[in-house]
Symmetry: D3
Subunit: 238 residues, 6 copies
C-alpha cells in the first residue's frame, strides 16, 4: 500500500495553470499533487558567447527552491553564496531535456531561459519542472511566432518527465516525498511525445537493482509520461 | 491622474491568503494589486550565537525575488553568488520591523525566520513583505501557543508598511511600479497599530523634498497603514 | 545629561582637513568629535555600462572601516570575502546623497568615486562620510574646472548629514557611540543647503516613535545641518 | 569503424597500478587507454555532522581535473573559486556508487574520502574514477583490517563503471573522447559484481533513443563491466 | 642621482606617532616619507584552533590599502570579494616577522592581531608595516604587563624592515615608488636588533643579480635597519 | 646526520620525464626524491588585457597540490572556493622566475601558462616546480620554433631552484619534508645558468640567522643549482 493510497501506476492529480504570472513570455504553475513549481520562460535577443555568430539559439534552465518549500527550512542559496550540487544537477537536466525537443537552429540567435522555482515540495520537483517548463517554453516560442519574429514554432516534439521507483519491493509511478525518501531505487525518466528517451537516470539508494526491475520501472514511466503529455496537450489546446 | 486611475489616497486591492503553502508554521500569500509575495515563518528551537544563553528569542527575515518576477529577467542571486545591496537592505528592514512588535524575551530561546519571496513585482514589495510577514509571524507564534510551548502570544502590537511618494507633483499612496520608477520622492513607512513609527525612509530620487511635502506623505501613509492593519485583523480574525 | 555633557542641540567639534592625502583628486579628513573618516574622490574618464553613450556622468561611493576603528576588532571585510549588509546600505546612501546635488548631465561621461574609510569610529560615521565626501567631491570637480575639462562646477547645492535620536526620553543632536547604542530612536537626515531633504531614515531601536517626536528630531537635524554646511563653506572658502 | 579501430564491444587497454603514491591509505593509478586518473583513499577517524553519534561511517568522493588534462587548457577550479556543475555531478556519482557496496554500519564512525584527479583525459573519466576508486577504497579498508581497527572488510560487493553510447548508429562500449564528443546517446552504467545496477545515466546528446537502443547499450555495458571487475580482482589478487 | 635627491644610503624622513587612534591596545601611525601606514594591535583572549590547549599565544597580521592610497585608484578588496596574492604575501610576511621576536610561550593563550592599513603609498609599505607593527605590538604587550596579565614583556628582540634595490646600476636604501617601479632588483630585509636576519626576499625585476650586488644590498639594509631600530627605541622611550 | 643519510651538500635523486602527458605543448614529470610534480606548458595566442597591443608576450604559472599529496589530506582548494596564501605565493614565484629568463618581447603576443601540480609532496615542491616548469616551457617554445611561429627560442638563460636550510645547526642542501618542518632557517634560491640570482627568499622559522649562515646557505645553493641545470641540459639534450 502506498502512503497516498494510490495504485502503483497512478499519477498524482496534475494541474497546469498557464499565464500564472504577468511579466514572463511564458509562465506556468504546475502541480504534481502537493509539489508546486512556477516555471517561467524569458526570451533574450542574444546568445551566450560560445554561440555568438553561429546563427543558432539556446535554451537553458535555472532551478531554485524557496527555503521553506520543504518540511524543514533549508538554507537560502543566495545567502550561502552558492548553489548546491543537487541544484546544479537538476538545472542542467532541465536544460538538456528542453533543448532535446527544440530546433535550436530554427530559433535564431536567441536564448530562452526557463526558471523553475519550487514553492512547495513533495517529491518529483525536477520532473514537474521539465513537464511545466515545456509549457512555458511552448508559450514563449508561440509568442515569438505571433509577433512575427519566427516563421514557425521551433519545437520538434513534446517532452515530459516522471519519477518511478521501487518502494517496499514494488515498482511505483510518480513518487511523493514519503516514497522518495524511503525507496530502494529511484529513477527519473524524460521522454518525448514519440516515446523515445531523452534521459534515464536510475539510482540505487539502497539495494542495487536488477535488469528486470529496471524494465518494470521503464514500463511504468512510459505509461505515466504518455498521460503527462496528454495533460500538456490539453493545457496548450493543441 | 495616476497610471492606475486610483485616487491619491487609495490603496491597491489587498488580498491576504493564509496557509498558502503546507510546510511552514506560518505561510501567507499577500497581494498589493499585482505585487505578490509569499511570506513564510519558520520556527527553530535555537538562537544565533550572539543570543545563546540569554533566554531571549530572535526574529529575522530573508528576502528574495524570482528572476522573472519583474518585467525584465534579473540575475538569480544564488547563481551570481551574492545578494545585492538592495536585497540586504530590504531583509534587514523587514527583520527590524517585525522585531519591533515582538516581545523577544517572552519568545524564549527560539528563532523565527520570515522568508519573503516575491513571485510577481509591481512596486511596494518590501511593504507587502512586512505586512504579510506579520501575519505569517502571528500564525507561527499562535501555533506555539496552541502547542503549549508559549503561555501567551509574544506580540506587542500590529505592524504594517506602505510606500508613499510625490508623483507628478502630487502626494500619492501605495506606489505601483510605474509610479515608483517615475516619482520624485519615495518614502516607505512602517507603523504600528497604535499609530507610532517603526521606520520612516524617505528618499529624493529627483528633487529634494520639503518639510511640507514630508508631512503630506506621512499623513497619507498613516491613513493607508490603518487600512492595512484592518486587513490584517480581518485576515487573522482578531 | 548626555554622556559627553553636550547640550541637546550641540554638535561635536567638527574639523575638516582638505588635501589630507596626496594622490586623490579630492582628499578630506573629516572629524565629528572622535569619529574620523578619510574621504577621497577619484575621477575616472568613463562611466559604468548602464550609462555608456548617454552623455551623462555618475557619482558613486564605497565605504569601509578599519578593523580596529571600533572598540572591539571587527572582521576585515576583504578577508571575509564580502561586505556586510550594513556597509552596503551606507555606501548606497552616500552615493544617492551626493548624486542628489550633482548635475550629472553637466559632468559628462565621467565617474567620480567617493571612498569613505573610517579610521576611528564614535557614532555618526555615515553622516560624517556624506558631509566630508561632499568636500572631496567639490575639490575633485573644481580640479576638473581648473584643468579646463568642465566649463563650470556641476554642483547644484550643498549637502550634509547628521544623526539625531531620542536618548533617555530627550531629542538630541549628533549622537556619539554611547548615545547611538543606547537610544530609543535613531534618525539620519541628509539635507541640502536650501533646507530640503535628500534622505530621512528614522528607525525605532526600542519603542516606536510618535509623530511629535519625529518633528522634534527633524527640527534638531535642520539646525545641525545648517551649521555643518557653514563648516563646509568655511573649509572650501566659498 | 570506430576512430580507435576497436570492435564495438572492446574495452580500451586497462591498467591498474596500486600504491601509486606514498601517503594515502589507498592510492591507485587507473588507465582506460589514454584516460589516466589518480584515485586515493584517505581515512579520517570522524564523520560529518549529520552522522555524529549514529555509529555509522561514510564514504565520499571529490573529483578534479588538472587544467591541461584536456586538449585545450581549462580554467583551474581553485582559481575560479568554484567547482563546475559537471564536477559536482561526477563527484556525487562516484560517492553514491562506492557507498552502494560499502557496509557503512560495519565501518564505524569513520569517513573515507576518495579523491579522483584526472591527469590525462580521453573520455570516460568518471567511469575510470569509480573503477579505480573502488580499488583505493578496498586497499584503505584492508589496511584498517590489518591494523586491527576493523574485524572484517566492510565491502558487500565489487563495483565498476563503463560508458556506452550510440556512435554513428552503432552501440559501442567504452567511449573515448572522439566518440564521446560525437555520439548521439551517451550512457554511464555502474554495476556490481553480482550484475545489479547501482546507477544508469543515459542522455540523448542528439536524437532521443529508443527502448531497443537502451537494451543494446545495457547489454554492452554488462559485458564490459564484468571484464572490468575481473581486472579489479586481478589487481587486488582476490 | 636618486629621484628624491637622497644619497644612496639615506632613509626617507621617518615619523612614528603612538596612540594614533583611540580604541586599539596599540595604535601607531608610521611614515617613511610619503608612505603612511596605520598599525594597530588588538588583543584577544583566545587562540586559533590549531593552538587550543597548548598554552601558547599567537601573533598574526592583516594588511590592506585604501583604494586611493595609490596614484591610480585600485579596486577595494572587500568589494571584489577577495584579497590579492600580493596582499596575502605581505600579511604573511608581517606576521612571521613579528612572531620571530615574540616569546609565544610566554604570551599565554592570547592572540595579538596587527592590522596594517596603508592610507598613503609611496613604496616600502610592507617594511613600514613591520617597523610600525612592532611598536603597536610592543604597546599592546606593555599594556598587558601593566594590567598584571603578563609578568614580563614577552619580546625577545627588536625587529624592523627596509627595502633596498639596484636602481640605475647603484645599490640604494629605502626605495620610494619611482625607484621601486624602475629598479632592476628589489630586496626586502627584515632584521633584529642583534643584527640577525628574520627574512631576506630579493627579486630580480629585470636583470638577475650577482652575489656581489647581493652583498652590497645587505650592507645597506643592515645600516638602514639599525637606524630604524633607533627610531623605534626613541619612540618607545626604551 | 640528515634523516635521509645524505651528506650536507647532496641533492636527492633527480628524475625528469618529458612528454609525460599527451595534450600539453610541454609536459614534464619532475622528481626531487619523493617529491613529484607534473609541470605542463600551455600556449595561448593572446595576452592578458594589460599587455594587449604592446607586441609582448607573457609567462604565468599556477600551482596546486592533490589533496592527498601530503601525509595528512588537505582540503581541496576548488572545494573551499579559494587558493591559500601559500599557493598564491608559490605560483607568483614560479611565474616571476620563468619570466626572468624568457625574452618576452621576442615571444610575441602569446601567453604561456605553466601548471605545476604536485602529485606527491616531500619538501621542495616550489623548487621542483620551477626546475621542471623551465623544461616544460622550453619544450613549448621549441614547438613554436619548429612550427615556424617563432624564428628563434626566446629563452635567455637556464633557471632552476633549490631549497637550503639550517638543520640541527648545519647548512644542508635540498631539504626533504622532515628537514623542512624541523629546520631553523629555510631558504629558497632561484638561479640562472650564468650563476646570477633571480630570487632569494630566506626565512627564519626559529632563530634568526646570521650573515655567515646566509653565506654558507648561498654557497650550497649555488653548487646544487649548477647540478640541477646539468640535469636540465641532459634532459633537453642541449
Amino acid at each position: 500500500m502506498r502512503p497516498s493510497a494510490r495504485t502503483a501506476d497512478a499519477l498524482r492529480p496534475i494541474r497546469i495553470t498557464r499565464q500564472y504570472t504577468r511579466h514572463a513570455e511564458g509562465s506556468v504553475l504546475i502541480e504534481f499533487g502537493d509539489t508546486k513549481v512556477i516555471c517561467t520562460a524569458s526570451v533574450e535577443e542574444s546568445v551566450p558567447p560560445f554561440l555568438k555568430g553561429k546563427g543558432e539559439g539556446w535554451v537553458t534552465a535555472e532551478y531554485g527552491m524557496l527555503p521553506r518549500a520543504t518540511n524543514t527550512r533549508s538554507r537560502r542559496e543566495a545567502a550561502s553564496g552558492k548553489q548546491t550540487g543537487r541544484t546544479q544537477e537538476i538545472q542542467r537536466l532541465i536544460g538538456r531535456s528542453l533543448r532535446a525537443v527544440t530546433d535550436l537552429s530554427a530559433l535564431g540567435e536567441r536564448q530562452i531561459t526557463i526558471d523553475c522555482d519550487v514553492i512547495q515540495a513533495d517529491g518529483g520537483t525536477r520532473c514537474a519542472s521539465i513537464t511545466g517548463g515545456f509549457i512555458a517554453l511552448h508559450d514563449a516560442l508561440s509568442a515569438l511566432v505571433t509577433a512575427g519574429k519566427l516563421p514557425a514554432l521551433p519545437i520538434k516534439d513534446f517532452v515530459a518527465a516522471v519519477s518511478v521507483g521501487i518502494y517496499q519491493g514494488q515498482a511505483v509511478l510518480d513518487l511523493d516525498y514519503p516514497e522518495d525518501s524511503g525507496c530502494e531505487t529511484d529513477m527519473n525518466v524524460v521522454m518525448t511525445g514519440s516515446g523515445r528517451f531523452v534521459e534515464v537516470q536510475g539510482t540505487a539508494e539502497g539495494e542495487p537493482f536488477s535488469r528486470d526491475e529496471m524494465n518494470a520501472l521503464l514500463d511504468l514511466a512510459d505509461a505515466g509520461i504518455r498521460q503527462l503529455i496528454d495533460f500538456q496537450r490539453k493545457a496548450l489546446g493543441v
